[in-house]
């Protein structure tokens, strides 16, 4: 059913025979509504919540997990999963540190190198999955361990620091917008997140990669039988995920002005949670970038709001878990009605 919905939405888009809200967009509208409700509730509960610095703080804390979630959206739409994004992010951060601090490469080259590290890991995962026919769960689990180990080996289990004069921390923390419009100090990290989301959205909805992405997730066998090189496109999609993961690593290293080999474990699950909150189905064939952005924002608004209300931390985690169950259940109910 969901398969028909999605391909249907794409086709009817051209005919303009659409109600005000496209059926495929309903989940996003719902997710957005819950985000607004959350923001309203927290704003009324604490005067300190809805303030410019706090909103910027929430956006910045979304950036790293958000970029990871963007990448994860692609593989999850194919019906696969990438468990390695947390530690590949760490490895990318470490490699960025190696390039910029140890090899004294110029910052832009280091950034490209960090992103490429992620892309190569994604390429490897994709190749293992499609050529060696190892299920994504196992293949990326292995990649998770490989990346974790390599990050430790390469860094010598020590954090790598960026020299102040390279100005690397400006990548995430400086505000280009703030210089144009004084007082509107949104850090670059947030802009990079939204920029990545726009690029991700274009790839997913306007390019052939995106179309094959949905096709793979809806029915892999049918896609293969229609003469599409399934293996090739799978590798492409895992590489895209890896590229986003590399970007997340670059962002994290910039925000901390250092690369820590011990960070990153467990981030993959937060990224998957954000993707699922945004209405992407783990069984594949369905999902949007806008949904993922909203999902990631819901996660960080929720944790930030609960912290500001001084809810004990143990309970914060419980609440986030309950919200994930409710959100996914609401989506299932809505689809069942159809």
């Amino acid at each position: 059913m969901t398969i028909q919905n999605d391909t249907g939405a794409v086709q009817t888009g051209g005919k303009r025979a659409v109600p005000i809200i496209k059926p495929g967009a309903m989940q996003q509208v719902l997710a957005f509504a819950s985000l607004v409700i959350l923001v309203l509730v927290f704003s009324f509960s604490s005067p300190n919540f809805f303030q410019f610095t706090n909103i910027v703080g929430i956006l910045l804390s979304t950036a790293v997990i958000g970029v990871l979630a963007l990448g994860s959206t692609f593989v999850i739409i194919t019906g696969g999963i990438d468990l390695s994004v947390g530690t590949v992010m760490t490895l990318s951060a470490i490699m960025t540190g190696v390039f910029i601090t140890y090899w004294d490469l110029p910052v832009p080259l280091g950034i490209v190198g960090g992103i490429m590290t992620g892309a190569v890991c994604g390429l490897l995962s994709g190749t293992i999955i499609s050529k060696m026919k190892i299920p994504p769960f196992i293949a990326t689990l292995a990649m998770m361990m490989i990346a974790k180990g390599l990050a430790l080996v390469i860094s010598g289990a020590k954090p790598i620091y960026f020299k102040e004069e390279t100005g690397y921390s400006k990548l995430a923390l400086d505000s280009a917008i703030g210089k144009l419009i004084p007082g509107f100090d949104i850090p670059n990290g947030v802009l990079i997140f939204f920029g990545a989301a726009i690029i991700g959205g274009i790839i997913l909805s306007k390019t052939i990669v995106g179309r094959y992405n949905f096709a793979l997730g809806s029915n892999e066998e049918a896609t293969r039988l229609s003469g599409i090189n399934v293996n090739y496109w799978k590798i492409v999609i895992y590489t895209i995920t890896g590229t986003f993961t590399g970007l997340a690593g670059v962002l994290m290293a910039s925000r901390l002005n250092s690369a820590h080999p011990s960070l990153g474990s467990g981030y993959e699950l937060e990224a998957i949670a954000a993707v699922v909150l945004g209405g992407t189905s783990l069984s594949g064939g369905k999902g949007t970038i806008v949904g993922t952005v909203i999902g990631a924002l819901i996660m960080s608004v929720l944790t930030n709001g609960l912290r500001i209300l001084s809810v004990p931390q143990e309970w914060q985690t419980v609440v986030v878990g309950i919200v994930i169950v409710l959100a996914v259940y609401a989506d299932i109910l809505r689809r069942r009605k159809k």
């Binding site: 604490s46 300190n48 703080g57 954090p159 923390l173 930030n304 001084s310």
Partner: protein, 333 residues
Amino acid sequence: MKKITVTMLVMLLTIAMLSACASKGNEGKGEEAAGKGSTNPGAEKIYIPIISKGFQHQFWQAVKSGAEKAAKEFNVEITFEGPETESQVDKQIEMLQAALDKKPSALGFAALDSQASIPLLQKAKDAGIPVIAFDSGVDSDIPLATASTDNLAAAALAADKMAELIGGEGEIGMIVHDQTSVTGANRRDGFKKQIEDKYPNIKIVDIQYGGGDHLKSTDLAKAIIQAHPNVKGFFGANEGSAIGVINAVTELKKEGQIVVVGFDSGKQQIDAIKSGKMAGAITQNPVGIGYETVKAAVQAIRGEKVESTIDTGFYWYDKSNIDSDEIKAVIYE
């Protein structure tokens, strides 16, 4: 159908290969242990495994270097290992089990969970293997000695310094690494109790736990500052927490408005103290912890008497004394 069969086959093969590797590994270890048992223990070099709470953090690397120093000095062989994160209690228990299987002469152990390890430590005791605890203690009388920092007293000193720096009144916040480990709980309680007992005009507005994760601690500290704009001081109870607080203060452009007191060292804390972003920090003596652990283990093997608690000490350091020889010896980059 064919695909599933192939997949299954590959998985089976992988599992078979993995288990083959694993059993080979075990055999190797078994032989090694057997070899050790059969030869005259006097001729063999004394072997002391050290099971730490971690190995990635700079703190543990410093402990390791102290242990290696003592190993060299007393001509014993050591291994140093620990789980990846300080929440992996189960993994640490496995490491402890593996270490005991090698029939060591003594054992150095820093418990992640002081209760969970007791059955295995009891086994060690029954086998006559002396156990030396380090860093955080074990709730039992099995360890012959515990080489650690008095975390309660160290955190109380941090509280005194904080009170002095903010003028004895105002709101302060705390980021602690976790609420389940002995060091986390003791540093939190030591700091909190000192403030409550001695400084009635200081209010601790919030205590949050960031797992020692720099990024999470940053966002936590930012949220606390956001919720309590009047906060005057901030205590970060370990390296990751303290760096998180500094990041939060920097990102909110509140440098100079919030007094930051840290714990442990590392390059970023040292830089922050030198640049004035951080007022000062408590450092333990990690090299000393490692050294004293191995030394006590050697003494126990030789049948000499060991002190049951070895206080390895702690120091307050700030801009004024960071370059002194005494501090330089105990902080690490």
